[in-house]
C-alpha cells in the first residue's frame, strides 16, 4: 500500500515536470493524452497538466448526507441492448441482452493489460472485497448535477489484487456500448474511485449502468463509464479506436 502510494506520487511529479515541455510536444508522445495537433486538445492538455502540478493528488470530493440524495436523470445510453440507442454496439448489444435476462449471474468483468494476474471477476467476486459506500455529487458536462449514494469496491483494491505492474499508467474502461473511456493512474488510485454495483441502497439500475459502472468522482459524469465489460490497464495513452467521446471531440480530461 505505502510503497505504491509513494510510487504514484513520485511518478506524478516526474510526469508533471517532464510534461511541461510536453504541453507543446504532446502530439508526438504516446505518454500523454492526445493533442492531434488541435489547439483545443492542447488546451485540454494544459488544463490536465495544471491539475497535476497545482492541486493535491488525492483530495477527497465532498460527501453528502442521505437526506440530500436527489433525483437523477439517466442520460446517454440507458440500455445497451436497445439497438435504437445512439451508442449501440452491435457485437455486444445481444450479449448484454442475454446477461440482463439472466440477472447478470453470467456476467463477469475482465481485467487485462499491465497486471500480473489478468482474469474475470464475477459480481460475487467483487462483492467479496470490502465495500465502500459514498454519497456524492454527479456533475454532468451538460450543466446539471445530482446526488446519489453509490456502493462498490475501490478500483485501487481490485487493481492491486490483480497485481498491477509498475509500468501501468492508464486505466481504460470498455463498456457494452460504444462509449469507452479511460483515466490516469492518479484518478484510478483515488480513494473515491470505485466500481459501483449499488445505487441508493439497491442494485445498480439498468439505466444507470448495471451491473457495474465506475464512479470517477473527481471528473465530470461522462468519465464514470456505465455497463462495464472490460478494464484494460495500459502503459501508454490509448484513444481506444474509432468510436467514443474522444474521437467526437470531447476532452479526455474532464476534471473541470
Amino acid at each position: 500500500m505505502e510503497k505504491s502510494e509513494l510510487f504514484t506520487t513520485r511518478r506524478s511529479i516526474i510526469t508533471g515536470l517532464a510534461s511541461m515541455g510536453g504541453i507543446m510536444l504532446g502530439g508526438c508522445s504516446k505518454e500523454l493524452p492526445p493533442t492531434y495537433g488541435n489547439i483545443l486538445r492542447m488546451g485540454d492538455l494544459l488544463t490536465y497538466q495544471a491539475r497535476r502540478l497545482l492541486l493535491p493528488a488525492h483530495a477527497l470530493v465532498k460527501e453528502y448526507d442521505r437526506h440530500q440524495i436527489s433525483s437523477m436523470p439517466a442520460t446517454g445510453t440507458t440500455n445497451p441492448a436497445d439497438s435504437g440507442q445512439a451508442a449501440y454496439k452491435a457485437e455486444l448489444g445481444p450479449v448484454y441482452e442475454r446477461l440482463m435476462r439472466g440477472g447478470f449471474a453470467e456476467w463477469g468483468l475482465s481485467i487485462e493489460g499491465r497486471v500480473d494476474r489478468p482474469g474475470i471477476y464475477t459480481l460475487a467476486d467483487l462483492k467479496r472485497f470490502p465495500s465502500r459506500t459514498q454519497i456524492t455529487k454527479h456533475s454532468c458536462e451538460e450543466g446539471w448535477s445530482s446526488i446519489a449514494e453509490w456502493t462498490g469496491v475501490s478500483l485501487r483494491r481490485v487493481l492491486e489484487s490483480a497485481g498491477i505492474q509498475p509500468s501501468a499508467r492508464f486505466v481504460n474502461f470498455h463498456p457494452y456500448d460504444e462509449n469507452p473511456d479511460g483515466i490516469d493512474m492518479l484518478d484510478a488510485m483515488h480513494p473515491q474511485t470505485i466500481l459501483a454495483y449499488g445505487m441508493n441502497g439497491r442494485d445498480l439500475p439498468i439505466s444507470h449502468g448495471a451491473p457495474l459502472r465506475v464512479r470517477v468522482e473527481t471528473q465530470m459524469g461522462y468519465k464514470s463509464v456505465k455497463f462495464l465489460h472490460r478494464i484494460v490497464v495500459k502503459n501508454e495513452f490509448d484513444d481506444m479506436g474509432k468510436v467514443g467521446l474522444i474521437q467526437s471531440g470531447w476532452s479526455w480530461y474532464a476534471g473541470i
Partner: protein
C-alpha cells in the same frame, strides 16, 4: 488636445482579454444551450425544479422523458427517468474552447492586475478619489457632453473608473471563481468554494448572472467608444496614438 494615451501593455492586454472574453461569451452561451435551466444550491437537473428555464435551444422544456421511477418508498422520494430526447449538445468543442480562452483571460488578467498596481496605472488613473464618488460627480459623468469629452486613455471620468475597476477586479475574478466552483477536481481541493457560493449550481447561476452584467458592460463600452469617436478610440487602443 493633450493626452497621455494607452501604454503598450494596456493595449496588448486589452486585446488579448477582448478576444478571450468574446470567445468565453460565445462558447459559454453554447454550453448553456445544452442545459438552459438555472438552479440554486448543490444540485439541479431536469427532474428537480428550476429557478428559470431559458428558451435558447431546442432543449427548452423538452418532454423527452420516460415515466419517473422512485428510488425509495414514499411519495417524497427522489426519482429517476430516462431521457429519450436527442438534445442539442455541442459541449465537446464548446467546453474545451471555453477553458482554452479562460487560460488566456486568467493569465492576461493577472498580468494586467499586477502591472496596473506596480506601474502606478491603478493608483494614478483608475482609483476613484473620494470626492469623485459623490452622487453629483457620478451623475455628471452620465450627463450632456460627458461621452464627447472622453479622450482616449486617462484621465477617466468617475463612472469610467468605477466600471473598469468593477469589471477587472470584481466581475472577472468572480467569473473565474464561480467557474472553478463547478469543477469536481478543484472543489475537492478547495471545498470552501462550495460553501462560499452555496453549491455548484448556485455558482453556475451566478456565473450566468455576471455574464449578463459583463455583456451589458460590453454593449455600453462599444456604444461609448462609437459615440466618442470610434476611429480615434480604435487607433488609440491599437497604435497608441
Amino acid at each position: 488636445m493633450a493626452m497621455t494615451g494607452h501604454s503598450i501593455w494596456v493595449r496588448a492586454s486589452h486585446w488579448v482579454m477582448a478576444i478571450s472574453v468574446m470567445t468565453l461569451m460565445l462558447s459559454g452561451f453554447v454550453i448553456l444551450m445544452a442545459h438552459p435551466r438555472l438552479y440554486w444550491g448543490a444540485v439541479g437537473n431536469d427532474l428537480t425544479p428550476a429557478l428559470v428555464e431559458l428558451p435558447i435551444s431546442r432543449n427548452y422544456w423538452h418532454r423527452g422523458w420516460t415515466p419517473s421511477v422512485a428510488f425509495f418508498p414514499g411519495a417524497a422520494s427522489p426519482v429517476s427517468a430516462e431521457r429519450t430526447y436527442d438534445i442539442f449538445n455541442q459541449n465537446g468543442w464548446a467546453r474545451s474552447l471555453h477553458f482554452l480562452a479562460a487560460w488566456f483571460l486568467v493569465s492576461t488578467g493577472a498580468f494586467y492586475a499586477v502591472a496596473a498596481i506596480f506601474s502606478g496605472h491603478f493608483w494614478r488613473d483608475l482609483r476613484p478619489r473620494a470626492v469623485e464618488l459623490a452622487p453629483r460627480r457620478l451623475w455628471e459623468s452620465l450627463s450632456r457632453h460627458a461621452y464627447s469629452a472622453m479622450t482616449p486613455g486617462p484621465p477617466y471620468n468617475p463612472l469610467q473608473k468605477c466600471a473598469y475597476l468593477a469589471v477587472v477586479f470584481i466581475a472577472l475574478p468572480l467569473m473565474a471563481l464561480t467557474g472553478m466552483t463547478m469543477s469536481p477536481t478543484i472543489t475537492a481541493a478547495y471545498p470552501g468554494l462550495l460553501e462560499f457560493f452555496g453549491g455548484s449550481q448556485s455558482a453556475r447561476t451566478l456565473h450566468f448572472g455576471i455574464f449578463v452584467l459583463l455583456a451589458l458592460f460590453l454593449i455600453g463600452h462599444l456604444v461609448l467608444t462609437i459615440l466618442s469617436g470610434f476611429k480615434r478610440q480604435l487607433r488609440a487602443m491599437t497604435l497608441g496614438t
